[in-house]
């Protein structure tokens, strides 16, 4: 049992717009941290710049609200220098995937033990309404009055392409779903990407409408759980099956299909092919949006490896102080 409550992680009065998805997410984060039980003073919350990156100011932990795009890089140094800290990195879609895209992929590739939160509202809110790297093609915004002429990133694809070992998704308004993936992200050792689908009430209202409330989710989302069959629908009457190289939606009872025929979710599978298919569903393709922990595979972490290498080399080398280091050189004496 954790000795902390959500209150122990709360600070200040958030300044986000009323109805902003960030409010919901913040409450879930406080709750998740309390349940995880790491002390606030052993927790660092590090963000970049953007609406969602204001978040550290509402945390009673250590933290930094840094500069645009660099949160993953700054969090990397923080974690490597002090692996005892639980480090949470908070970014929006612009911060994390546009200006910070390089740091995002490399933090995943290195597999640094960071909890990387991507609050995705598919818009630049703080700069008042420009399209972001997750806005769909044709998206009309202040900087694209005739619609964008570029395709968006799909965060899971970037994460997987960078050899990421953990990817989960939740809707900001779904507190239990969010708390669950945040705890799973903390428990996963290595870089853990959590995509939070979050609404911007001012500049991109309704972007996640299909899954933003409970009713929508019951029709348009699938909660994936490791070891459970991939069932969804108001009465779990639909399921997913493999179909050649792809997936298909089937209805239980039709064509003699029973629950036994339904694909069972394997978040621990090293091969990410089917996990990626799950993660990419729901883009107006007749498939539900996958929520929950989609990929969760163990792998050596960078910060552990750095510490282990220092210990190993220290054992094999005969010099451990600056004075001893000097003596390893070719030295001559002038008398």
């Amino acid at each position: 049992m954790s000795e902390y409550t959500a209150q122990d992680f709360k600070k200040g009065q958030p300044r986000w717009c009323p109805g902003c998805g960030d409010h919901f997410f913040l409450a879930s984060l406080h709750k998740a941290m309390a349940e995880i039980g790491v002390a606030p003073y052993n927790t660092a919350v590090i963000s970049g710049i953007g609406c969602s990156s204001r978040l550290p100011h509402y945390m009673a932990t250590y933290g930094m609200n840094t500069i645009h795009g660099r949160a993953a890089a700054i969090a990397t140094g923080c974690k490597v220098a002090n692996p005892d800290l639980a480090v949470w990195q908070i970014s929006g879609d612009g911060d994390g995937l546009a200006i910070g895209g390089n740091h995002f992929i490399h933090a995943n590739r290195r597999n640094i033990n960071l909890n990387m939160i991507l609050l995705n509202n598919r818009i630049y809110g703080l700069t008042k309404g420009q399209y972001s790297p997750t806005s769909p093609r044709g998206f009309v915004s202040k900087s694209s009055p005739y619609g964008t002429v570029e395709d968006p990133f799909r965060p899971a694809e970037l994460c997987f392409g960078a050899r990421g070992h953990f990817f989960a998704r939740a809707v900001a308004t779904d507190a239990p779903g969010t708390v669950e993936i945040l705890k799973a992200a903390y428990n996963h050792k290595g870089a853990s990407v959590c995509e939070i689908l979050q609404n911007c009430v001012i500049f991109n209202n309704g972007t996640h409408d299909a899954v933003y409330n409970k009713e929508g989710r019951s029709k348009n989302a699938i909660y994936v759980k490791h070891g459970q069959p991939l069932l969804f629908g108001e009465n779990l009457e639909f399921g997913l099956m493999q179909d050649g190289f792809g997936l298909k939606v089937v209805k239980l009872g039709e064509n003699g299909i029973t629950e036994k025929d339904i694909l069972v979710h394997d978040a621990h599978c090293q091969d990410n092919t089917l996990q990626l298919k799950l993660a990419l569903m729901g883009d107006g393709d007749g498939f539900p949006v996958a929520l929950g922990v989609i990929r969760d595979v163990d792998a050596p972490t960078y910060d552990d490896a750095v510490t282990a290498q220092i210990e190993e080399v220290s054992k094999s080398k005969k010099y451990h102080t600056f004075e001893e280091l000097l003596e390893t050189n070719d030295i001559w004496e002038v008398k």
Partner: protein
Amino acid sequence: MTIKELDQVVVRFSGDSGDGMQLAGNIFSTVSATVGNSISTFPDYPADIRAPQGSLTGVSGFQVHIGAGKVYTPGDLCDVLVAMNAAALKTQLKYAKKDATIIIDTDAFQKSDLEKAAFKTDDPLAEMGVDADRVIACPLTQMVKDALADSGMDTKSVLKCRNMFALGLVCWLFSRDLDIAFNFLRDKFAKKPELAEANIKVIQAGYDYGHNTHSSAANVYRIESKVKEPGRYMDITGNKATAYGFMAAAQKAGLKLYLGSYPITPATDVLHELSKHKSLGVTTVQCEDEIAGCASSVGASFAGALAVTSTSGPGICLKSEAMNLAVIMELPLVVLDVQRGGPATGLPTKSEQTDLLQVLFGRNGESPMPVIAARHPVDCFDAAYEACKMALEHMTPVVLLTDAFVANGSAAFKLPNLDEYPAINPPYVPEELKGTWTPYMRAENGTRYWAVPGREGFCHILGGLEKDSQTGAISTAPENHDLMTRLRKQKIDNIKVPDLEVLGDEADADLLIVGFGGTYGHLRAAMDELRAAGKKVAMAHFKFINPLPANTSEVLKKYNKVVVAEQNMGQLAAFLRMKVDGFVPYQFNQVKGQPFVVSELVSAFDEILNK
């Protein structure tokens, strides 16, 4: 045989990049330093990655200056030039004095070698106007093969020993004790004794060849040691000394050393050096880019490490964003900028002092940052130590400027005794402030306290947004921003740096020579020459540029004529004019990517004296 007694001599080893000229030069300088000579060395790398063998662009040089008294530079022109092939003679002769002794390997002056080196005739010496009497021409390659005929080594390995024959010959010219070289090689190749013995055999062969065949033809030199400073020494490059300074400071401060970096010439050797020493607990992270190199260091600093980032050239532009974050968050950070030729990619392997104004001012907003510039390879150690101490004790990023010349050059380094170095005491937040502390509460000298994550009762949020001076919360209040801007400036201005030292004719100089950083040796040598010629000259050289030494104005205004000499278009001069009212100096500016040439400085300063 004539024995020439010299005060100083410059030897330049040159050949293909793969000919091992640096090793030969290093051994020669170590041997000389061991007998008490002063040394200064500088490598001259080709710009090409691996140019074709024997080609003009593939020539690399290594210059060694040894002196009976103190030497400050690797020397302008050499007294002895070793040219291992025709291309080396072609490209390097311009670095030799008119009466220099030239050693060539005739086996590498064959028809195809001459063609590759773009000689038009089959007499390269005549074509270059070299007096054959000054040349020691020997079939060096063949003699190396003969010496190692019974070694059982393959041809490739045998040819790799050519540099040792040249070294042996040079050791003979300077009557060097070969035992010191032998010991050096036995140490260096401790794990491959057969290789050590092969090299030793070839050095001896080179020495004997000189002794037997040229004893009547060439000069033999003697350089006595006049100013011996007893002690234990090692040879050190500027980059290595910088890395050592960081490790020494980390140990003294009791902190973990963290380097976030990205490979870039000529700073990369610092990353290489620090990456080796994990047994001292050093953590190095080779990041995805320069931005992350600096940004991750800011993160490491927040987490409580001594954080350092290293770069050069365009890298400093990319780092300026995160450097600025460290300014507003008031976290310690050392940014090493090994200056090279610019702009953009510029001249990556060459040396300039063209980043000064960038590191002083090249960030958005009012962003004051201390700047320290190392003077010579050995000084990099102290400068790095001082930069770390300043960053940690004043909670600020500090720029340490070196340059390609200082970074790659080497000199004898007297092993430091850390007990004699000042303690490093970061302003950790006192436990008794628990409950009342806020992040921008300041100690007496204006420094913010450091609360490292993991300490209960001191949770706080820093960031790139302006903060209220009292509460530490985000603030856009006009008066508060004005106050915080002033507090950040005052904090830097409060840093104590040593007074500017005036060398030479301090009392009555007609000309004061002013410079900063890596030009110290050349400017000092120029001053010494002018004074030897009876001129009244003094020198004031800046190591601490921000904040400036307290006596700066007094010194600069004391002399009738002042010349600011720098390897840029006048950046220090501009800064001093901004800081010292009514200061109008003469300027000497050169941006060639090469170190100053002392003789050019002397004539330029003489001209100013005669005005």
